[in-house]
Every structure is written in structure tokens, then in C-alpha cells.
Symmetry: C2
Subunit: 193 residues, 2 copies
DNA sequence: GCTCACACTAGAACAGGTTCCAGTTTTGCC
DNA sequence: GGCAAAACTGGAACCTGTTCTAGTGTGAGC
């Protein structure tokens, strides 16, 4: 068995389940990800899904973890653009937001799962938060005070998350997410430029 | 019938339903607010609840609206304490947080409902947000630039909401909510003192 | 006071997430 | 290869939010 503690066929099964969730979610959003459908689409028994994921929300949250890690790798390959600190931070957050814009239904699904109270989903939520924080932090210069930087990253993470929830709940459009984050970034960072 | 469009007995029924939800929620949190139990506790039929509230989340969100309005009245009676702007803002946000601390189970219930996608719940969410924003805004001096003030209030609202969700999902303790908001307030406001 | 539209009730029915079970297949180990 | 343990399967069952139905009040306008 591999380093993850799963045999090859198990890893494949788990992968098929995530793929099925992604596929159903990107077509119809959260409600369309029905566990019975995920099971048949993935070609596994319903009960098997629950061997790998503690709940529907956990399943969707795991897919978001993969997405966040992906984004992290991309950002480290193509560092944020911008003359001043606030521009760089806005650039990286807009890239994150644009990624969700491209898959609105799927984003609705995963963001909904992101505010679930399932404990296993909560681990994913924290993981996503950590990844986002480190992505944002990577836009800062090395000589920036680390404690202040972390505080600022957390605040921006809160704004990003809260705006996403607002978008998912149709309080306002997706473009608002980027705008809101940009406003926050300027309020927090312009004093350092 | 009264100004609200409800007869006296209807207003009473509606009130009993909310009271039942409050009572069940403050004992056992979100999961303990079961619609069948709400119905029997309130002494109404299950279907009747759905005449007044479109969903469980809507019901809980309405109770939060009442709570927020309450807080708004209290704050306008006893204005925020503090020498400098950031202290005042922190004071008012800590009062909001303390209110939830006193009823942790109930807060878990209403905050969970606050991130629901039900459209009627969404109206409540926006209402709560507006009330919170105006409460925070009331800590600012009259001559503060209104647009900047509103931007700052929204950012603080995001931090508050996101931290509450984090608390509800057990990412960290309730005291963290106040701390996180305080950090954000200092980052945003110390430059104006 | 009558009446009609509408609200309410009890309870069944439905939907989808989650759990359970009996039987079968895989897997790790000797 | 043979065996015990663990994983998987199909499917029923369970739970709780939500909807529906048939019958019973109830109150506003005449």
C-alpha cells in the first residue's frame, strides 16, 4: 500500500468518488451532489463513500482542499504581480476568486460545505484556511514583520471567506467578492507603501 | 388585525413558535431544534410553522434579527466606551460577542442558520448585517469620512461573521472571536488615532 | 347570524443524508 | 495456495426537514 495508507484500488475508488462529486457539483451545485448519485456515478456502493468521507460536506470540503493546494502550487510557480504590496495581495486574491468564478455551481457546492459543522469537514476548512493564509503571505516581502503579516493575512482570509459565503447566499454577485477583498487590502496595506 | 398583517392570535402563535425554537436551541443547539419538537412545544401543527417561516433556518435567522435589533437599542442607550476610535469599536464588538457567549448553544444554532442558502433566511442575514454595520458605525465620530467608515465597518463585519463561524465549527474558542476582531480593529484604525 | 375564504390540525407521505446488515470479494500474511 | 481480517456490495432501514391532504375551526363582510 502507498504512503497514504490506501491500496492502489482504494486510492482509485476514492478518486472516483471525488471526481463524481466534482462532476455532479459543477453541473448542479450543492443540491445536485446527492450521495446516491455520487455512488452510482463513481461505481461504488453508497456505504463505501462513508468509509472514506464522514459526510457529504466532508467529501466536498476535501475537493476544496485539493483545489486550494493546486492554487498554492500555481501561485508559487507564477508569483503575484504588482508594484506595491497591496497590488500584489489583491492580485493573488483575485486569482483565487477568478478560479471560483469559472465554476460557479461547483464553488457554491464547496463553499456551502465549507461552513458545515461536521468535524472532519472542519479539518479541511482549517487546511484550506492555512493554505490561503500562506498564499496571501507569499505576496509580502521577506522583511515584513511576520506577526503583523500573519494578522493581516488572517483578516483578509476572513473577508474573503465571508464574502464568498455572501456570494453563495446570493447577497450579491461574484464580482463583489474581489471588490470587497480589494477594499480591505487597501485599508490594511496602503499605510505600508 | 394589527399593522404587521397578523391577527392577535396569529401573532401569538408566531411568537410561541419563536419562543419554542429559542428554548430548544438554548438547550441543545442547532440539532436540537427539530421542527416536530418546535411544533409540539409551541402547541401548533407542524404545517403551521411553515406558514410563518419558509424553513428551519429562516425561523432561526428571524430570532437572530430580533437579537440584533435588541443589541442595537442597547448600544444606542449606552454608547460605546473608549478614549480612541479603535477602543470604542472594539468595545461595541466585544459587547456583541459577549451576548453570544452567554448563550453558546443558542448562538451555535442561529449562526449555523446564518449561513444557510434559504432565500428568506438570506433576507434576515442581510438585515443582521445591516444592523451590525450601523452599530459599528455608531462608534465613529461624526466628522469621519463616511465612505471610508462604511468600508471599515464592512470589513469588521466580515471578520466578526467569519470568526463566529469558526467558533461554531470549533476551529477555536469563543474568546478568539473577540481577539480576532480586536486585532482587525487595530490594524484598520490605529492609523487614524 | 350566515357564509365563504382562509387558517389550522393531525397525520401521512416524501426526500435525501446517514446507518445498518447479510453476503461476497480483496487483501495481507503464513 | 489457504486463511482470517478487512473492505465492498446491494439494498433496506432510519432520521429529520419539508410537503401534501382531508377534515375542522374561525373571522371579516354582508
Amino acid at each position: 500500500m502507498s504512503a497514504t495508507g490506501l491500496t492502489k484500488s482504494q486510492a482509485a475508488r476514492r478518486g472516483r468518488v471525488i471526481d463524481a462529486a466534482l462532476s455532479l457539483g459543477s453541473d448542479g451545485g450543492y443540491d445536485a451532489v446527492q450521495m446516491r448519485d455520487v455512488a452510482t456515478t463513481a461505481g461504488v456502493a453508497l456505504g463505501t463513500i462513508y468509509r472514506y468521507f464522514s459526510s457529504k460536506d466532508h467529501l466536498l470540503a476535501e475537493t476544496l482542499v485539493e483545489w486550494a493546494n493546486d492554487l498554492g502550487r500555481k501561485v508559487s510557480r507564477k508569483p503575484p504581480k504588482g508594484e506595491v504590496l497591496s497590488d500584489k495581495v489583491v492580485d493573488v486574491l483575485r486569482r483565487a476568486t477568478r478560479g471560483m468564478e469559472l465554476e460557479p455551481k461547483l464553488s457554491e457546492a464547496v463553499v456551502t460545505a465549507l461552513s458545515s459543522t461536521d468535524p472532519h469537514a472542519a479539518r479541511c476548512q482549517r487546511e484550506v484556511g492555512d493554505v490561503m493564509n500562506s498564499i496571501i503571505a507569499s505576496a509580502f516581502p521577506d522583511d515584513f514583520d511576520a506577526a503583523t503579516r500573519d494578522d493581516i493575512c488572517r483578516v483578509l482570509g476572513h473577508v474573503w471567506f465571508s464574502s464568498l459565503v455572501g456570494w453563495v447566499n446570493r447577497w450579491y454577485g461574484i464580482n463583489h467578492v474581489g471588490d470587497e477583498v480589494e477594499i480591505a487590502a487597501h485599508l490594511l496595506l496602503d499605510q505600508y507603501d
